[in-house]
Symmetry: C2
Subunit: 318 residues, 2 copies
Amino acid sequence: MKTSRKIGLAVAQMGPMHLADDRAAAVARLMEMMREAKSRSADLVVFPELALTTFFPRYWMLEKEAEDKFFEKSMPNAAVQPLFDLAVELGIGFYLGYAELTPERRRFNTAILVDKTGRIVQKYRKIHLPGHADHKVNAPFQHLEKKFFDVGDLGFTVADALGATIGMCICNDRRWPETWRVLSLQGAELGLVGYNTPSWNIHWNEPVHLRMHTHLIALQASAYQNAMWIGAAAKCGSEDGFHMIGGSVIVAPSGEIAAQSSSEEDEVIFANIDLAIGDTFREHVFNFAKHRRPEHYRLIVERTAAGPAVKPTESPPE
Amino acid sequence: MKTSRKIGLAVAQMGPMHLADDRAAAVARLMEMMREAKSRSADLVVFPELALTTFFPRYWMLEKEAEDKFFEKSMPNAAVQPLFDLAVELGIGFYLGYAELTPERRRFNTAILVDKTGRIVQKYRKIHLPGHADHKVNAPFQHLEKKFFDVGDLGFTVADALGATIGMCICNDRRWPETWRVLSLQGAELGLVGYNTPSWNIHWNEPVHLRMHTHLIALQASAYQNAMWIGAAAKCGSEDGFHMIGGSVIVAPSGEIAAQSSSEEDEVIFANIDLAIGDTFREHVFNFAKHRRPEHYRLIVERTAAGPAVKPTESPPE
């Protein structure tokens, strides 16, 4: 067996953040959960996507209004600085999602990884933006990520930090197998993802139970297929009447769930994860050098949408 | 809702084929299950990988010996012809896996799709060959696919047949997300896979329950992520003392299991699958044209194995 390489991983799920809740309220809740994570010997705590505000893409508004109310112009800023200070004091790293407004006035759905010295060691900007840009006037709520955010321009980012090679993604990215593969091809052995997932699909009459089901199977298969640990943090429950799924999890490289939230409130889950378990899967079933065949994968980058079947180039069917 | 487009899909799991069992015995069992499939109004029945013989890559032998005993020099041949004839008589298509020896004496792990007129309309040769080529003298059995087979040279094949756009793969291919993505990028709405999966892993002390678990989560997530139906047929049970998992399934584009075998014997499962369910997923969550970002997927084809993290090209972390 491999020599253990353990790190303490906490996932801090957040219950609802209402429109009336300000940044100070969010940061106070994150700090409370950071203390709890540290009390369980966590090296790292994962917070949700857009953790500082309500999930505002559900509301139709002008971009300028969204920028003023929901975007961060710098990070850390005065409101978030206490969280950074506490991380340094406790000696704990964290993943945090927030809406980023750049000096060039570009808007991204962003997550950062902060190390135990309070330094931002990695940034990721969400690539797979779900939803729409138009106003769906008859829908009970909107999903305006394609209106409020630019497609991320940093690629799928991986960095060595906190004792592991860590890859980052955000929410809808987790449903796309390309996300996890691009992370594992950069050596990621731990993937972090925050999310806000509405319990109802405004686009079609999707059975509600599928929202949790597809969330879990996508994470479990992706952890397995990439020999990675995954930590996934929900913002969940009913934000001003709009319900979102919980189901925060820590998934092992076996595809097994090592820890799962059991509430739709603020809740910290923890596992002392052994990165060496991933090494075993990387050495055998998912030994990429031995088994991958990129010459047969070209359509993945050559096509965006489905096209006609490609005729086999060698001996045709007899 | 979409207009239903239903086809009858049967999956015919096979119990063990021992070394002493000849082709005639295999074909008789396949014909029996083909009749049962037809009795449930199946348009198509999926048989396992290497359905005509025992799973011979578990035995060390010279290539010539394997060719003589376990490979088909033509298809159909005299032994298999009755299965083709019955398909025509009943008006049912089938997927069949077998070991193929070409006129150039190349060896492939192959599957064919045969339509209701008995014509081979599609051929696939396995790309992700698991196992090893050397003799593991201390192992209780071998997994010599890398010795006995060449890597498939036809790509991941898709064809319109039997009322659906059908993609094919074999056994270990199902664990690789690239397989299913390359099929769905060619419009596949139904994926077929036969497999032989040993219950023990000779490479490391893998907990036995993971073999079934990872098989199921990989299929469920892949069906969902590609908005496809999947029919998966096991050869299973104890072949001359070497046990293989069953778990034959029909999986819906929701990632839900629509039918699953409950034995480790010959067993036919059936679902009247509605291809239109896949259309809904393709139109929304997995609308590739709207949401995929191939410019960020390049590592999938540019690297075989994991390499260093790629530095973000745009604005670095602050």
